[in-house]
């Protein structure tokens, strides 16, 4: 590696990392938080077999899982202005990522809810609790325990998917890198560099997941 290339790598590091901290991470955290709210609501509607709403939820999951994330981003950002709905890049990205991730996580949550033995619900009724009390105190905590590893998986996946937001002009890590490449003509090292930063972020999340699972196990309750 020539000195020129090395200098580019070193100079660009903070310029790539900074949008990572100010854009990629907030985009991931906010979208995932909203996605979790959607996921729990959608999963509970299906678990409780609420008529009509349940069909709407199935439709939502069917459409979102069946179309590419990139297409969804384009429809919201480039398509909606045709209807007079003009959104900034960042809110557009938040909307698309939370709705998209919500659909996948809803399926994870639904499976986890269904894995809780039916006897837990019955026991709850028999001690006098109502449906919502049982869900909140007994069924959901057990479902979260089961869903934790696959949800962590989704979160890690999402960190990398945020790079697609570059297509709708969100100034996140990948777009920042593209700009530097356009100026320096060093695609190989720079794209590898941004890849490493994504790897770094995901490694941290992997540690967090491991610590989280350890804590859940340490609380004494393990699924049999």
């Amino acid at each position: 590696m020539t000195e020129r290339v090395w200098n580019i790598v070193v100079d660009s590091f903070p310029k790539i990392l900074l949008p990572g901290l100010t854009m990629t991470i907030p985009l991931t955290v906010i979208s995932f938080a909203i996605a979790m709210v959607i996921a729990v609501a959608v999963a509970m509607v299906q678990f409780a077999k609420v008529p009509v709403l349940r069909q709407i939820c199935r439709f939502y999951i069917w459409v979102i899982r069946g179309t590419p994330l990139l297409v969804q981003l384009y429809v919201i950002f480039y398509g909606l202005p045709k209807l007079g709905v003009i959104l900034d890049p960042f809110p557009s990205a938040i909307i698309v990522f939370s709705i998209n991730e919500g659909a996948y996580c809803a399926e994870t949550m639904r499976a986890a809810l269904e894995s809780v033995p039916a006897g837990q619900m019955e026991a709850g009724y028999c001690v006098g609790m109502n449906y919502l009390q049982i869900m909140r105190r007994i069924v959901l905590p057990q479902a979260f325990r089961t869903a934790f590893p696959p949800l962590s998986n989704s979160l890690i996946s999402m960190v990398k998917d945020t790079s697609l937001a570059a297509n709708i002009t969100v100034m996140e890590m990948f777009m920042a890198t593209q700009r530097i490449v356009a100026r320096t003509y060093e695609p190989l090292v720079l794209y590898m560099e941004v890849g490493l930063i994504y790897l770094l972020f995901c490694t941290v999340l992997t540690w967090v997941q491991r610590a989280g699972e350890k804590r859940l196990n340490a609380s004494g309750y393990r699924k049999e």
Binding site: P117, G119, Q120, E122, A123, G124, Y125, C126, V127, G128, M129, N130, Q133, R137, I138, P141, Q142, R145, G220, Y221, R222, K223, E224
Partner: protein, 263 residues
């Protein structure tokens, strides 16, 4: 105190309960016996509305209910005055023994935490599980879990406790500890309705025996009379079979019936 008239329940084309009537008085310990598939468990589950009976009446605690048209509020009211002990314990897996016992008090009845925990510790002591109060269900043996489940049933001081084959899922050497707790409750005058395969329990602890087969009550009598002079031929056949099994296998009839009970 609890009176059931003409209860009916079918699952599709299968008539599980065909016109069953039953009377339980204060401090009665009623044992419901019968071969597998006779509708015993379904009967018990209908009484606590875990299954919805198709027809019939229930009189409980001075109120009369029609099974087909009980409101959600009435169900909640009845459940608050009853308790249910399951064959496979169904302890809340994410709660400790003590939390399992206090949950129904703190959450469902809004009992202050301190008071609920005081009651919780008392009932855990009663079933001999005080030293395991902070253990989670998966850290307890089957017999211990069932004793915690009985403590959970006692915590809310119910008018009647339903037991659904409480020892059927247990290893034979663990049934004794559960049965001895139940014997203590009977001695204290707790009203209990017990679906069981434990002949020794029915014979020595229950005050009355109900024998069911094919969704009907074949025979009902005070315990001593039931075992000494069974009237119906089918009852005599059932008892003969059980007696044969008992001499062949020792005290624990449950060994013999266990496979059939796990549904």
């Amino acid at each position: 105190m609890l009176s059931i008239q003409n209860i009916r329940k079918s699952f599709g084309k299968l008539d599980v309960l065909r016109d069953v009537s039953l009377e339980v008085n204060q401090s009665d310990v009623v044992a419901i016996l019968g071969p597998s598939g006779s509708g015993k468990t379904t009967l018990l589950r209908c009484l606590n509305f875990l299954e919805t009976a198709d027809d019939g009446f229930m009189e409980f605690d001075g109120e009369k209910y029609h099974f087909g048209q009980v409101s959600r509020k009435e169900i909640a009211h009845i459940r608050r005055k009853t308790a249910f002990v399951f064959q496979n314990y169904n302890l809340f897996l994410n709660k400790t023994a003590l939390q399992n016992v206090t949950e129904g008090l703190i959450i469902a009845r809004k009992t202050p935490r301190a008071q609920a925990e005081k009651i919780g510790l008392e009932v855990l002591e009663k079933v001999g599980m005080l030293d395991r109060k902070d253990h989670y269900p998966n850290q307890l043996s089957g017999g211990q879990q069932q004793r915690v489940a009985i403590a959970r049933a006692l915590a809310t001081d119910p008018e009647i406790i339903f037991f659904d084959e409480p020892t059927s899922a247990l290893d034979p050497e663990l049934t004794g500890e559960v049965l001895s707790v139940m014997r203590d409750l009977a001695r204290e005058g707790r009203t209990m309705l017990v679906v069981t395969h434990e002949m020794s329990f029915a014979r020595n602890v229950s005050t009355r025996v109900v024998f069911m087969e094919d969704g009907v009550v074949v025979e009902e009598a005070p315990t001593a009379e039931f075992f000494a002079h069974p009237r119906a031929e089918r009852t005599r056949g059932f008892l003969r079979k059980i007696d044969g099994d008992m001499s062949a296998q020792g005290e624990h009839v449950s060994i013999n019936n266990k496979k059939e009970n796990v549904q």
